[in-house]
C-alpha cells in the first residue's frame, strides 16, 4: 500500500503532505502537518473537538479522509489569531473564563468563528444550537455562550 500525495491550502498556505488511504484529515493535520490544535475527542463526529472549516463549511476533521482534502481550502485553529493578535473570540474566551481543561476549546472557537461568519448577530438560542455539536465537560457551556455573544457584539461594533 502506498501513501498518496495531497495538495491543499491550510490557513492560507499551500501545503503538500503524504497520507495513507484510510487516514483522516485530522490524522494528517496532526501527524503530517504537525498542527496539533485540532483535537481528537471521540473520533466519531459527536464531540466537535476536531472542528475545522473546509471550503467555508464547518466539519469534523475526524469524519473526513485526508485524501478528500485534495485541492480544498482548510482553516484550523492555528489560523485564527493574526500573528500575535488574538481573534476577538479567543480574547473573549479568556475574559469570560470560557474554558477549564481546554481540550474542547480549539473546536469551540473554530465552530464559533463559523457561526459568526454565517450569522454575525445570532440569538443566544441560535448560538446554542449551532454549538450543540461541540461537547465541553468543564464549563457547563454558559461561559462559552457568554463569550461568543460578547465577541459577536464587539465584532459588530468594529464592523460599523
Amino acid at each position: 500500500m502506498k501513501r498518496r500525495q495531497i495538495s491543499a491550502v491550510v490557513n492560507g498556505d499551500p501545503v503538500e503532505f503524504l497520507s495513507w488511504p484510510g487516514a483522516t484529515l485530522l490524522d494528517a493535520l496532526r501527524d503530517e502537518l504537525l498542527l496539533t490544535g485540532s483535537k481528537e475527542g471521540c473520533g466519531s463526529g459527536d464531540c466537535g473537538a476536531c472542528s475545522v472549516i473546509v471550503d467555508g463549511r464547518l466539519v469534523c476533521s475526524c469524519l473526513m479522509l485526508a485524501a478528500e482534502a485534495q485541492g480544498r481550502r482548510i482553516e484550523t485553529i492555528e489560523g485564527m489569531a493574526e500573528g500575535g493578535a488574538l481573534h476577538p473570540l479567543q480574547r473573549k474566551f479568556l475574559e469570560h473564563a470560557a474554558l477549564q481543561c481546554g481540550f474542547c476549546t480549539p473546536g469551540l472557537l473554530v465552530a464559533a468563528k463559523a457561526l459568526l461568519e454565517a450569522n454575525p448577530e445570532p440569538t443566544e438560542s441560535e448560538a446554542r444550537y449551532w454549538l450543540a455539536g461541540n461537547l465541553c465537560r468543564c464549563t457547563g457551556y454558559d461561559k462559552v455562550i457568554r463569550a461568543v455573544m460578547d465577541a459577536a457584539a464587539e465584532m459588530r461594533q468594529v464592523r460599523v
Binding site: 463526529g45 479522509l65 485524501a67
Partner: protein, 290 residues
C-alpha cells in the same frame, strides 16, 4: 492494516466501474458521516472507497420541469440554505437538517442517509412521504427506484454491486401541497429518532385533503408507508375523526423493537401522536398556500 484504496472519479460511469471492480469490498463515500465511523470501529474493512463528491451533479440542487433534483452527496447545509426547496418541501428540508450537529450538516447527505439503511434515518420518512425517487447508476446503465425501495433491512440496501444513487428527485408539486416531519428524541439536538413521522398532503379547491402519504421511521426494520393512515385523511379537513383514524392506523402499522431508546409500547403510542401532529402541520402549511 489491510489494503485500502481511495478513488475520486469525476463521472458517474467511472464511479460505477470503480465500484463494480471493487466488488463486495467497495464502499461509496458521500459525506462520510456514517462510513468513517464504521471504518474506525472496524465494522467495515473495504478494499476501495469511491468518493462521489467530484462526480458531475453529485453536489447541488436544481429544478427540472417542476421537480427538484438533489445531488446524492449534497450536504444538509446546502439543502437547508435552498429557499425554493424549503418553500416547496418544508418537511423534507426539516428532516434533512435535523440530522446531527452543524459539523455533520456540513457533510451528511440524504442519499447517504438512505443507503446507510437505518430504520431511524430522519430524512427517509420525509423522502418516502414525498414520493421521492432515486436515480441509480450501475454497470447496466441507469434506473429509477422509489425512496422506500432502497433499504430492505437494517444496514442493507437493494442496490446491486456497482450501483450507487446519483441523485434524488422530488416530484412536481400540485398547488396547495405541503409536508412535515417530526421526530421524538429525549433531548433537543444530536440524537437518533425514537420515532419519526413524515406526512405529505395536497388540498382540493374546497380545502379538503385530496392526496396524502404517511411514512413512519424507527417502528419497523425499514421505514414504512402507512396507506390506511393516509386514507383516513382523504376528503377531510383533519377533524378529530380523521385524526383518530390516522392515529389508529399508524399504531396498527408499527412493529418496533424495545431498546434503550424506547419500548415497543412507547414507540407505538408515539407513532400515532407524531403522525397526528405532522399531519396538522402539513395541513396548515398547505392551507396557507390556498
Amino acid at each position: 492494516m489491510p489494503q485500502l484504496d481511495y478513488v475520486a472519479p469525476t463521472s458517474a460511469e467511472d464511479a460505477s466501474a470503480a465500484l463494480a471492480a471493487g466488488g463486495g469490498l467497495a464502499k461509496v463515500l458521500a459525506g462520510g458521516t456514517d462510513l468513517l465511523v464504521q471504518l474506525r470501529s472496524g465494522r467495515l474493512a473495504p478494499g476501495v472507497i469511491v468518493d462521489l463528491k467530484r462526480v458531475t451533479g453529485a453536489i447541488g440542487i436544481r429544478e427540472e420541469d417542476g421537480s427538484f433534483v438533489i445531488g446524492a452527496a449534497t450536504p444538509g447545509a446546502i439543502v437547508g440554505e435552498h429557499e425554493a426547496l424549503g418553500r416547496a418541501w418544508p418537511g423534507v428540508v426539516e428532516a434533512a437538517t435535523l440530522i446531527g450537529s452543524t459539523q455533520i450538516q456540513g457533510r451528511a447527505s440524504m442519499a447517504g442517509n438512505l443507503c446507510n439503511a437505518s430504520p431511524a434515518a430522519d430524512s427517509v420518512p420525509a423522502l418516502v412521504a414525498a414520493q421521492a425517487t432515486c436515480v441509480i447508476v450501475g454497470p447496466d446503465g441507469r434506473r429509477t427506484a422509489p425512496a422506500e425501495a432502497i433499504a430492505v433491512a437494517p444496514g442493507m440496501t437493494s442496490l446491486a454491486p456497482g450501483e450507487f444513487i446519483l441523485e434524488i428527485r422530488l416530484p412536481p408539486r400540485p398547488p396547495r401541497s405541503a409536508d412535515a416531519y417530526l421526530r421524538s428524541i429525549p433531548r433537543t439536538e444530536m440524537d437518533i429518532a425514537v420515532v419519526g413521522a413524515g406526512v405529505n398532503l395536497s388540498l382540493d379547491d374546497a380545502g379538503l385533503v385530496s392526496r396524502a402519504r404517511v411514512a413512519l421511521g424507527a417502528v419497523a426494520p425499514t421505514v414504512i408507508v402507512v396507506e390506511a393512515a393516509a386514507k383516513a385523511l382523504i376528503g377531510t379537513r383533519l377533524d378529530e375523526e380523521a385524526l383518530a383514524g390516522l392515529d389508529a392506523a399508524a399504531r396498527a402499522a408499527c412493529s418496533p423493537i424495545s431498546d434503550k431508546r424506547g419500548t415497543i409500547e412507547f414507540r407505538t403510542k408515539i407513532a400515532g401522536v407524531l403522525a397526528r401532529r405532522a399531519a396538522i402541520i402539513a395541513f396548515a402549511r398547505a392551507g396557507e398556500r390556498a
